[in-house]
């Protein structure tokens, strides 16, 4: 399968701070010795480098559909990242301390996109629940994790993004079913604005961070 490896490598070494980084021991094969490698967790990707100064990752583990568990091994602080299926693959790793072991196991078990999406959807639901229905200002951007916009009416009136006239002449189509989350619409416009302002703040912070790194 082709993969945009160049982009993947660039994502691995991009300027933004990683979610977690540190040395781990990795077992090359079942009976093989553990090799000390530099690991970088970014999003749902676990990259590993020959050493901390390497410019390109030696490899990556895509962390979707895996479980992370402690293992009984001669090696101390050992754990494994396991995948399901026939001839299932397992990455056998070991940390350098109990604290590092716990930190890595926690971080890796919550790294999947799936997990993050579940949390986001739950928070989206909670926000809608505490906010209650409200009139929506015009939304420039699409709401996160929501179905694509269409001329669907909300509880309080027309969908903000619909530019269709409310009373169109000629045969009108039957009204679409009401949206499941009627109170959600106030979120998208606010999200769009916040997204923009956080984006600016993040960019400012990144340049600060990069400058700070350049100094000895």
């Amino acid at each position: 399968m082709k993969l945009n490896e160049r982009s993947l490598a660039s994502y691995a070494t991009s300027g933004a701070p990683a979610d977690r980084a540190g040395f781990l021991f990795q077992r090359a094969g079942r009976a093989a010795a553990y090799l000390r490698r530099w690991f970088v967790l970014r999003g749902n990707m676990l990259f590993y480098f020959e050493d901390a100064a390497s410019r390109e990752p030696a490899g990556v583990v895509i962390l979707e559909g895996c479980t992370v568990e402690l293992v009984e091994a001669a090696e101390e602080f050992a754990f494994a990242v396991r995948f399901a299926g026939a001839r299932a693959r397992a990455y056998e790793l070991a940390a350098e301390s109990q604290a590092a072991l716990e930190g890595w196991v926690k971080a890796l078990s919550r790294a999947s996109f799936d997990y993050l999406r579940l949390v986001v959807r739950e928070l989206e639901r909670q926000l809608a629940a505490v906010r209650g229905p409200a009139p929506a200002p015009p939304a420039r951007a699409l709401p996160p994790a929501a179905p694509p916009p269409g001329p669907a009416p909300r509880e309080n009136g027309r969908a903000a993004w619909s530019t269709a006239a409310p009373a169109a002449p000629g045969p009108a189509p039957p009204p679409p079913p009401p949206r499941r989350r009627a109170s959600a619409p106030s979120a998208p416009a606010a999200f769009a604005r916040l997204h923009e302002s956080y984006g600016r703040e993040v960019r400012a912070l990144r340049s600060l961070w990069l400058r700070g790194r350049a100094q000895p």
Binding site: L3, S7, L205, G212
Partner: protein, 162 residues
């Protein structure tokens, strides 16, 4: 770069956020349009020959730019090489907008920002941190405080080396 290809193949068989048969053109100069079954699963865009079960390839959708391309198509390019574009042709403007929207929301980074946004908004309304129930409120990757431009140092909000 080594990667767990078998798992990536298994991922390509998971339920998709969006899937359709589209015209696709690779980034190389002079590449021709081919019909591909294109499938969006988490932050990967898989593309299959229309009669095959295993994908021809996958694109990781991080640090990428999704742009509309006339007439009713879009392109995906990556920040390290913006001129290198993967082009897709839709059958309608509607389908095109649907894909552009979905692809822009598909990155892990977008999800993360959404989470930080919702967390902050809920905290403003209720005074409580909604992440506590998940036991992840202390995770550096979700800290809003780390995003303040006025802080002199980045503080605990940005992990570098663990």
């Amino acid at each position: 770069m080594r990667y767990n290809e078998k798992e990536l193949q298994a991922l390509s068989r998971q339920p998709a956020e969006l899937a359709a048969e589209l015209g696709m053109r690779g980034p190389k100069k002079g590449s021709v349009v081919k019909r591909r079954l294109v499938k969006l699963v988490v932050n990967f865009l898989f593309y299959f020959r229309t009669d095959e079960a295993e994908p021809v390839g996958a694109l990781l959708l991080e640090h990428c730019k999704v742009a509309q391309e006339e007439p009713s198509g879009f392109s995906i390019s990556f920040v390290e090489d913006p001129e290198r574009k993967y082009r897709f042709e839709c059958h309608s403007e509607e389908q095109c907008q649907e894909w552009i929207g979905a692809l822009r929301r598909a990155s892990y980074e977008f999800m993360r920002r959404s989470l930080i946004f919702y967390r902050n908004e809920i905290q403003k309304v209720t005074g409580k941190d909604p992440l506590e129930q998940f036991g992840i409120s202390e995770e550096a990757r979700f800290q809003l405080s780390g995003l303040q431009p006025s802080s002199p140092s980045l503080g605990p909000g940005f992990p570098g080396r663990a």
